[in-house]
């Protein structure tokens, strides 16, 4: 049988496409995904949080609800026991005051976390490598509930008072 050129090219393309798709599914979809592609434009600022909840890389960064960038990286600072979040801000948003306030917020009731920036009043602006000093951690629903019940039980009987107070102080130290 004479080899047919179109047939071979067609089959080759098909198999190549198939394996490319498989490679995409196995490397890009799972959380341990390998990152391909050039870094996106924009400048990076960092912010340190006590607790980031389940903030993930790729989550949006917003100012007044408008998306201005995304979370580019998350690492743990073992000296201060804080989460250092790297934020990539799109290049067209150059005028975010340096004393802005970053907080971790939740989309919807059970939605994913995102970083909201409330602008400060300074005339100097954030630039590549600067740090946002004022931050607020994620509100963890469990600790809120914990706090509520701690207050509730301590008000109730004297018996559970010590335990309730204990819980409350724990929550407060977390904050």
């Amino acid at each position: 049988m004479r080899p047919n050129r179109t047939l071979e090219i067609g089959t080759g393309l098909f198999v190549l496409l198939g394996f490319a798709a498989l490679l995409f599914l196995t490397t890009q979809l799972p959380a341990s995904g390998v990152k391909f592609g050039a870094a996106k434009a924009g400048y990076h600022v960092t912010a340190e949080f006590d607790n980031i909840g389940d903030l993930k890389v790729g989550a949006p960064v917003t100012v007044a609800g408008v998306r201005v960038g995304e979370v580019a990286g998350i690492r743990f600072d073992s000296k201060d026991y804080k989460a250092v979040v790297s934020l990539r801000i799109d290049p067209q948003y150059q005028q975010i005051p340096e004393d802005s306030f970053a907080s971790i917020q939740t989309q919807g009731l059970l939605g994913g976390k995102y970083v909201g920036i409330s602008p400060g009043g300074l005339d100097s602006y954030l630039k590549d490598g600067s740090r946002i000093d004022q931050t607020q951690s994620a509100i963890v629903l469990e600790s809120l509930i914990n706090k509520f019940f701690a207050g509730y039980t301590s008000k109730g009987s004297g018996d559970s008072h010590s335990q309730g107070a204990d819980n409350q102080s724990k929550v407060e130290s977390k904050k």
């Binding site: 049988m1 080899p3 098909f14 798709a21 979809l29 959380a31 790729g58 949006p60 919807g108 009731l109």
Partner: protein, 253 residues
């Protein structure tokens, strides 16, 4: 093949036995068939490369519909961010393997059956036997293997195109954040989910190719017989695919 006086049940059992014996004969011929890679490549081209357009087009639209429906549903609970997860899991685990198998049965399975059936009807298979060429090895086995190789590849292509379709609707049209779409997806989809889809498609590939080749090989050597065999291929492949899908899903959970 029409249920005779022996009763419907017995005929069903007989056909199941015939298919099983045929599968064993076919598998025995698969190893020697690999020694003729050119025949195999030709069949991969027929079953896979030529189904590419229909698979990609269907994948795109299935993904887009999934994006619309899942968005509409998730919006009621205020959790549109889960769209990526919903689309990825739905596509990878269920929609891609099943729809690809159904399309494969319609697009490639019918072609296989009518091709082999016509060979039978025009006595080409008999002629091969007379020349001491085993038609099972040279006609049936490469077609079977071609289908088995093509199906998983088509399925993963379907998944990727479908994800793109879902992203197109969710991100571009409905305004779900792109980073959230992908990071939520990556957070909840594991290699296990990808594997499930690939294993399913492999099983469907074996089942659909086997049915197509078997029906063609044992078609009645008339024009009507080939037509009937082609119809049976589509019906049997579709039913078996959906049945196996349930069994495999239950096994994977």
């Amino acid at each position: 093949m029409i249920p005779g006086g022996n009763g419907f049940m017995l005929e069903g059992v007989r056909r199941l036995g015939a298919v099983t014996i045929f599968l064993i004969q076919l598998l025995l011929q698969c190893v020697p068939a690999l020694g003729r890679p050119r025949l195999l490549v030709h069949q991969i081209y027929n079953a896979g490369a030529r189904s590419l357009i229909i698979i990609m087009l269907s994948g795109l639209f299935v993904g887009m519909v999934l994006g619309l429906q899942a968005f509409n549903l998730l919006q009621r609970f205020g959790s549109e961010e889960a769209l990526g997860t919903a689309a990825a899991l739905g596509l990878l685990k269920e929609l891609s393997p099943v729809i690809t198998a159904l399309l494969f049965a319609g697009r490639a399975g019918t072609a296989l059956t009518s091709e082999i059936g016509l060979m039978r009807a025009t006595d080409q298979l008999t002629a091969m036997e007379i020349m001491a060429v085993d038609p099972l090895r040279h006609v049936a086995a490469p077609r079977f293997l071609g289908g088995v190789v093509a199906m998983p590849l088509l399925t993963v292509i379907f998944s990727v195109v479908g994800l793109y379709g879902a992203q197109l609707i969710g991100v571009q049209l409905m305004g779900v954040d792109k980073g959230v779409f992908w990071s939520q997806m990556q957070g909840s989809v594991g290699l296990r989910d990808v594997n499930e889809g690939v294993v399913k498609s492999l099983v469907f590939g074996i089942a659909c190719s086997l049915i197509a080749v078997h029906e063609g090989y044992h078609a009645e050597p008339t024009a009507e017989g080939v037509g009937l065999a082609t119809t049976r291929t589509v019906v049997a492949s579709s039913v078996i695919t959906l049945l196996l899908d349930y069994v495999l899903t239950a096994a994977f959970l």
